[in-house]
Symmetry: C2
């Protein structure tokens, strides 16, 4: 059996790539990007299609500026949550180094 | 970048396989099954995870019988919609043959 695809996955990935520099995230490693995507995809209405070619139709339905803005707002909210609570190794190491520096100073 | 996965995809596929004989669908071709899946996945809350191993945790959260029953009810509703309005070639051919037989009779 072939697969069903949530068109929002592609749409959100594209939006994240487009807006990543403006989201002011502390970390932009793959792990953090994936966490943002998972979070935002749990917050937006899924749009499953039975054929990869139909993703374009769903994308077209977001040409309406208000709809698209609401997606970007949700993306920014999720980016802030992940940025404030990063789960990646990069940030875990950074925290370790910071703690070391602090204990050296004290 | 790795992929995010909606755990509900696997859960709904498994449920469809388990209950397919009891859903009384007119057609159970791959196309109809995919249509049921796409429809039901648009109606249930997505549960995206950043790691395929975490699907098991989401699945475990549905051990609660009432939650699982509500998923099966939604699956049955979507199966009825697709069964009443099949888009597959198998059913299109069947309809063509039926129309032929009808016009032969008249």
């Amino acid at each position: 059996m072939n697969l069903v695809i949530n068109a929002m996955e592609q749409i959100m990935k594209d939006l994240l790539e487009e807006y990543k520099d403006r989201l002011q995230m502390n970390c932009m490693c793959d792990r953090c990007k994936i966490d943002v995507l998972a979070l935002v995809l749990n917050k937006v209405q899924p749009r499953y299609v039975s054929n990869i070619e139909k993703i374009a139709y769903v994308k077209a339905s977001f040409i309406d500026k208000q709809e698209m803005t609401s997606l970007i707002v949700k993306l920014a909210e999720c980016a802030k949550i992940v940025s404030d609570n990063p789960l990646c190794e990069v940030m875990a190491r950074k925290k370790e180094v910071d703690n070391h520096t602090l204990s050296d100073l004290s």
